[in-house]
């Protein structure tokens, strides 16, 4: 174990002990119950933050710094460049760089925009070009996951390097990563950092994520939970296909059981309703027994394709009999009352049936034919081919708008391993304006929360305890928007109204809080090892409306099936006119309120209405909030790196 890791562990233990000590005292001794409406939210927010700290400490506990693979690079490789609407020239620049990757491979442009211009450019550069096949018509497209899944069935390399359209790869990217797969046949994924070249030192939009693509990924890697981040990663085809097959089997099992249960109910109801028509009643009852038998067969492990094939044949035969029967009866009845749509053919002397009119009769809700037809339609779902999807097999997860996290978690659940390789091997473009950046962050957060709600890592089979915590930790951090609201409101309420959320700003308070706070900062400092993390800290508070919106919209999406509109991040630096004030009104409102509270607080002390210590604590607190939120003001006026490059030198 390195000396650095030992130090991190000591600090981690200390910060957790001090934190638990402080929070316990806060819960038991220092809540101001008279102002419970702010006191309780504050202690809940503080407890949230302590849990966040514990999860962070757990992440860093086993930080793994890899030295590179031991084996030589080997295997066949397809390089995928996924694009939707990025400028053709940008995609081609990436594609040409991909073609120059030194290790033998094939390069493919996966054009979800299906653009003739893109196809022509790919062809003239001698690159592969893939668009969605005809199977996808009128089916859910599943965004980038769908684009990659489609390409998986058009190519055959053992490994896939996935690149976003703006990520220019280093010629050695495959040489540096493929060896991991040979080192360990259970490795499914090697992720490398995302690094942005269109970002200056100040990075006002906080695009670089040096803490994530560094200590955090290395920490997760230590628990065999390095995340897949959608680009700059190499994946093992076999692992993805296996995921697809297992997912297919699970889906077929579920949908078959569901369909059979529904069919059983429907047939039972129809049988009861048609007791007056003995033939129909009998037929429906027999069919129902067949369905019951099929369900039993499946639970006794008989292969589903067999059972459903047999059942379908029986139902087809029965409904043919029923339809014939019904037709005859109906035809007779109708003939008897000499009404259309049946006519007697004058020459042949037989009945001629007007099919269209009969169809219309049959679809009427209460006709027995309708019952049979709806059963038949229900049984279409028994074709074991996922008729509602373009591909029965979907290797990359489609349960979330961020396919990467969901896919990696499923791979981990099946026992595959992942690697984080800490070396920049592709350089890309970050969003260049505030609106685009906000949309991107919102999408990431929404995707994460979708996975949290649909496939919760704490309940997921196959994950180790450490893996559960690593996935849960990231999801937990996206709940911070609610805590931020409280951290903004509490000092404003104190400074303007003099209402204390704690019993007193006493020695007892500081003696517990300050050591915890300082130790927390120290751990962070050691972990970051000189990386500048202030930008990230600012945004984690300043984007509170984004985090809250992500939580509420994903909840509405998963629970109430309300659609999330999927946004593709734009990276070509074009920005809309005007200042994006509407997008950040909550932050601007918070800034105004904090400043007002600050002034009122000072005035209250001056006129003798305010408490000195309390005001000092809260003005420092307000100062921190303002320092964090100030990044939003910078970001509003940020025009992208191009604007700075165009400024003539020497002009002030």
């Amino acid at each position: 174990m390195s000396r650095r890791l030992i130090l991190i562990r000591i600090l981690a233990v200390l910060v957790v002990l001090l934190g638990v000590n402080y929070i316990t005292w806060r819960w038991l001794e220092s809540i101001n119950w008279e102002a419970w409406w702010i006191a309780v939210p504050l202690i809940v927010a503080e407890t949230y933050s302590l849990i966040d700290t514990i999860l962070f400490s757990t992440t860093m506990w086993r930080a793994k710094e890899r030295e590179g693979p031991k084996s030589e690079p080997q295997g066949t490789v397809d390089v995928f460049i996924a694009t939707y609407n990025e400028p053709v020239e940008m995609v081609m620049e990436t594609a040409r760089a991909a073609k120059r990757i030194a290790y033998p491979h094939e390069t493919w442009i996966l054009d979800d925009g299906d653009r003739a211009e893109m196809a022509a450019a790919a062809r003239s550069a001698g690159l592969g070009y893939i668009t969605r096949t005809a199977d996808w018509q009128d089916k859910p497209r599943h965004a980038k996951a769908g684009n990659l899944n489609n390409a998986l069935f058009e190519t055959e390399g053992e490994f896939l390097l996935i690149l976003d359209a703006d990520q220019i790869p280093d010629p050695l990217i495959l040489h540096r990563t493929l060896g991991y797969f040979a080192d360990d046949p259970q490795v499914a994924l090697v992720q490398t950092p995302q690094w942005f070249i269109n970002v200056n030192e100040a990075d006002p939009l906080g695009s670089q994520a040096p803490l994530f693509y560094g200590p955090i990924q290395q920490g997760k890697d230590g628990w065999n939970a390095a995340f897949f981040c959608g680009s700059n990663a190499v994946l093992r085809r076999e692992s993805l296909m296996q995921l697809g097959i297992v997912g297919y089997v699970r889906d077929v099992e579920d949908s078959t059981q569901r369909t059979l249960r529904a069919a059983e109910k429907l047939l039972g109801r129809e049988a009861r309703r048609n007791q007056s028509v003995p033939e129909l009643h009998l037929e429906l009852r027999e069919l129902r027994q067949e369905v019951t038998r099929a369900r039993a067969d499946i639970s006794q492990a008989e292969p589903i394709a067999e059972v459903t094939y047999r059942l379908r044949a029986k139902i087809d035969a029965a409904s043919r009999r029923l339809v014939d029967n019904d037709l005859a009866t109906m035809a007779d009845d109708l003939a008897a009352i000499e009404s259309l749509p049946i006519q007697r053919d004058a020459e042949l002397g037989t009945l001629v049936v007007n099919d269209v009119a009969l169809d219309a009769l049959a679809t009427r809700e209460l006709s027995p034919l309708g019952a049979v037809k709806s059963v038949a339609a229900l049984l279409d779902a028994l074709r074991v081919d996922r008729p509602e999807e373009a591909q029965p097999i979907q290797p990359l997860a489609t349960i979330s708008v961020t396919e990467d996290m969901a896919t990696a978690m499923q791979l981990h659940g099946m026992g595959w391993r992942s690697v984080y390789h800490h070396e920049v091997l592709a350089r890309g473009l970050a969003p260049e304006d505030l609106q685009t950046m906000l949309k991107q962050r919102l999408r990431w957060a929404q995707g994460t929360m979708q996975v949290f709600l649909r496939d919760n890592p704490l309940a997921k089979k196959g994950l180790s305890g450490g893996q559960r915590l690593m996935y849960f930790g990231t999801m937990w951090s996206y709940l911070s928007g609610f805590a931020a609201l409280v951290y903004l409101a509490a000092p404003i309420i104190y400074l303007t109204l003099g209402i204390l959320p704690v019993t007193a700003w006493s020695v007892d308070f500081f003696a517990r809080f300050i050591p915890y706070f300082l130790m927390n900062q120290l751990l962070f400092l050691v972990v970051a090892r000189g990386i500048r993390t202030w930008r990230g800290q600012q945004y984690s508070l300043a984007l509170f409306p984004v985090w809250i919106k992500a939580c509420t919209s994903s909840f509405a999406n998963v629970v109430f099936k309300k659609p999330l509109s999927f946004v593709v991040t734009r990276k070509d630096g074009r920005s809309a006119e005007g200042l994006p004030l509407r997008e950040v009104w909550p932050q601007l409102t918070a800034i105004v309120l904090l400043v007002i509270a600050f002034v009122i607080g000072i005035v209250r002390v001056l006129v003798g209405a305010g408490d000195g210590t309390g005001t000092l604590v809260n003005t420092v607190w307000v100062g921190y909030d303002l320092a964090a939120l100030s990044i939003i003001v910078q970001a509003i006026f940020y025009k992208g790196p191009a604007a700075y490059a165009e400024e003539p030198k020497g002009v002030t």
Partner: protein, 110 residues
């Protein structure tokens, strides 16, 4: 991988010889498609000489099953070798597809 196709009374048999992996999977899919288009959607994939199958190979089987069922036929497996059986079990695809003892038996009862 070699692929032989034979037609029989009431079904056609496709026999992959060797390793059915990502490189052979598209060919298997094409052969199945061809049979369906020629009016024979009752297909047995005879695995007697398939030494190994990977998930891409299984993917081709599922793709074929879908195509056959849409055409109101079926795709069935026969005489899987031990390594193939273990992959079917590992991916739990044996919950969906049955492995018949012989190609003749696959559609034998109909």
């Amino acid at each position: 991988m070699k692929l032989t196709v034979t037609t029989h009374e009431g079904y056609a048999a496709v026999r992959p010889v060797g390793r059915l992996t990502a490189s052979g999977a598209p060919r298997l899919k094409q052969e199945v498609q061809k049979l369906i288009e020629s009016g024979q959607p009752r297909i047995v994939v005879d695995l007697a000489e398939t030494e190994f199958i990977d998930s891409s190979g299984l993917g081709a089987l599922i793709g074929g099953l879908k195509a056959a069922r849409v055409a109101e036929g079926d795709l069935r497996l026969a005489s899987a070798t031990e390594p193939v059986k273990s992959v079917l079990k590992l991916t739990s695809l044996d919950r969906v597809l049955k492995d018949y003892p012989t190609a003749e038996a696959a559609f034998g009862n109909e």
